[in-house]
């Protein structure tokens, strides 16, 4: 049994809306830097963070094409964290609330992100060394 401590994060912010999303991802990155395992329970709008069909876009007003605009996509940030965790040999799990997914029609998620429900949040929190809930307000 590994002695790696696991931290659970509950997050409900949709992508591309708020500075909270950036702070949240910085927290996950910092947790991996500290060697902590990470478990995320995404609910409400946050289930779209892992939506596989997110697309970068250009910015016609600024005369930049998609590559120049380099629009950040949260699905790519999640994939990067998954890879970082793999390279460090520590756990990184992500569960989306299934009801929230269905409401928004964002069933097509990137590999490594699962579907679950509130019991998974309970399990994550019960098994974690510590849990942080980031509310929308």
């Amino acid at each position: 049994m590994s002695d790696t401590k696991t931290l659970t994060f509950a997050f409900m912010e949709p992508p591309f809306e708020s500075e909270r999303t950036v702070t949240f991802f910085r927290l996950l990155d910092a947790a991996l830097d500290r060697g902590a395992g990470v478990r995320v329970f995404a609910y409400e709008g946050a289930v779209a963070l892992a939506f596989a069909r997110q697309q970068p876009h250009g910015n016609a007003v600024h005369h930049r094409d998609s590559e120049e605009e380099d629009h950040p996509l949260t699905k790519d940030w999640i994939a990067a964290l998954q890879e970082k965790a793999r390279s460090k040999g520590i756990g990184f799990e992500w569960i989306n609330c299934g009801l929230c997914v269905d409401e928004r029609g964002v069933n097509d998620v990137i590999e490594g992100c699962g579907r679950g429900g509130p019991p998974d949040l309970w399990r994550y929190a019960s098994e974690a060394h510590n849990t942080l809930t980031i509310g929308t307000r």
Binding site: K5, L7, E19, R20, T23, R26, L27, D29, A30, A31, D33, R34, A36, H129, N130, L132, T133, I134, G135, R137
Partner: protein, 108 residues
Amino acid sequence: MSHYLFIQSQDPFTETRTHHQFDLIGQLYDAGHKVAVLLVQNGVTPARRGAKSDLFDDLLRWGVTVRADQFALAQREIDHADLKDQVGVADMDLVIDAMLAGHKVIWH
């Protein structure tokens, strides 16, 4: 005695609820708990020297440990020298270390 870390993302100039949030922080400190605050996002704005927020300044005066996220400061072009004397600078590591230490970490 418990250890608390509050992640303060809301600022007193646009969010009236910060009144109650700062009250809670102060009450826990008064009750003898070990309380620290990390200012993130717009939460860093009352830390700027010259910013007027009585409730925030009370926390500093009482001795509550307050740090400001250097990323949020940089985004807002607030230099370390622009901060009130009692405010230090930190990063997300502060949150993770508190969680790993078993402290109660609360998002505001």
